[in-house]
């Protein structure tokens, strides 16, 4: 999913749960900022592909795979909040509806999957989800105004 859709989903969650302060920062950190690994992969992309636009590059890392629950759960227990867990799970659910290859438990397992809803085109899923999230965000904001 694009970062814009992740922002919409996280904003909806923050609004719905009425989060403030540290919890809002954690929500955006684990709902959106985990995508920072794409930036970390940029040097690899430049070395392998160059400056041309080539679709399908493996941009993912274990920072946004289910294996990350192994460190996010202890972190939540230490911080005494489930916000990172919840927003990271939402991020994952969205990413796993896009049909590129993923390695959910790497480096512990080499299982490769494409996630779910693979029969529906990615652009259709993204467009529907994005529209629903925009409407839900506006509706929630309007209701609480």
């Amino acid at each position: 999913m694009t970062v814009f859709t992740h922002i919409l989903a996280t904003t909806l969650g923050v609004q719905a749960l009425d989060l403030h302060g540290r919890d809002t920062a954690l929500a955006y950190g684990f709902g959106v900022a985990v995508d920072v690994d794409h930036a970390l992969k940029a040097p690899f992309y430049l070395r392998a592909v160059g400056l041309q636009d080539k679709r399908g590059y493996y941009w993912r890392s274990s920072l946004q795979e289910p294996v990350a629950f192994l460190w996010i759960v202890p972190l939540c227990l230490w911080l005494g909040t489930a916000v990172p867990l919840l927003f990271f799970a939402i991020h994952l659910l969205m990413d796993y509806s896009v049909s590129f290859e993923k390695m959910p438990f790497y480096p512990y397992s080499h299982w490769v999957t494409r996630g779910w809803l693979v029969a529906i085109p990615d652009k259709v899923k993204e467009a529907i989800l994005c529209s629903v999230l925009v409407v839900a965000n506006v509706a929630l904001w309007w209701a609480r105004r």
Partner: protein
């Protein structure tokens, strides 16, 4: 660094091995029992005595590697035992701090979890900052809850960094493999499994049949894709 440590510990290692006839494995176990005694002392509120026993245990733990290297007794099994007993020692000592009420027991358990997580990847990533029980020697100056927060935070962060370093290694492998980017992960996995002589772990529902390959087949896919993209 290891050479310097071996040179410094050499006379003591010779004493342990040649005079007392102790093997690296016996030294590893000796270090563990000293750490166990340290944990008992700490849990009984004799923190200073516990830290002294812990220091003796760590000194002995350092000697096992020196003896193994100096006398050619190193083995993979010895390394595994050393790591296992090191983690067991840390678990006992951390829980002892919890039992003594010096830190919340939950925080001691989470520090153990962070150290164990890091242990699962540090051999492959080559990254371990070494902030474990050694941090506890600073208890005279820094409150123990702060030290446990440090141990937890550093080891958890090191675990995340370790995961990323291993990812980057695999990314390098995928980049070298090249070909169709949409299937590069499954082909790299298939290749790695073929090298190890195992079966590839692919999703049978979503992976195209040609991806469940041997090394030769994987190269064929790559070559065909490379021709197509040229």
């Amino acid at each position: 660094m290891k050479r310097l440590a071996d040179w410094l510990a050499g006379p003591l290692a010779r004493l342990m091995h040649e005079r007392f006839g102790l093997s690296p494995t016996q030294l590893t176990w000796g270090a563990f029992w000293l750490s166990g005694a340290a944990a008992v002392a700490i849990a009984a509120h004799h923190t200073a005595a516990g830290l002294l026993l812990m220091a003796l245990g760590q000194a002995l733990d350092g000697l096992d590697g020196t003896v193994a290297r100096a006398y050619g007794l190193g083995s993979e099994a010895g390394h595994r035992l050393d790591t296992l007993l090191d983690r067991a020692s840390e678990t006992l000592i951390f829980l002892a701090f919890g039992a003594a009420g010096l830190v919340p027991l939950g925080h001691a358990l989470l520090a153990v979890a962070a150290v164990l997580l890091l242990t699962t990847v540090c051999d492959r990533s080559g990254f371990d900052p070494g902030v474990k029980r050694v941090a506890l020697y600073f208890g005279a100056w820094i409150p123990y809850p702060t030290l446990f927060a440090l141990i937890f935070g550093v080891n958890l962060a090191a675990y995340v960094i370790g995961l990323l370093l291993i990812d980057f290694q695999f990314q390098g492998r995928m980049d070298r493999l090249g070909g169709d980017l949409d299937t590069v992960a499954s082909r790299a996995v298939a290749l790695e499994h073929a090298e190890r002589g195992g079966a590839p772990a692919l999703d049978p529902l979503t992976s195209p049949p040609q991806l469940q390959t041997t090394e030769a087949q994987s190269h064929r896919v790559f070559t065909a894709e490379a021709r197509r993209t040229q």
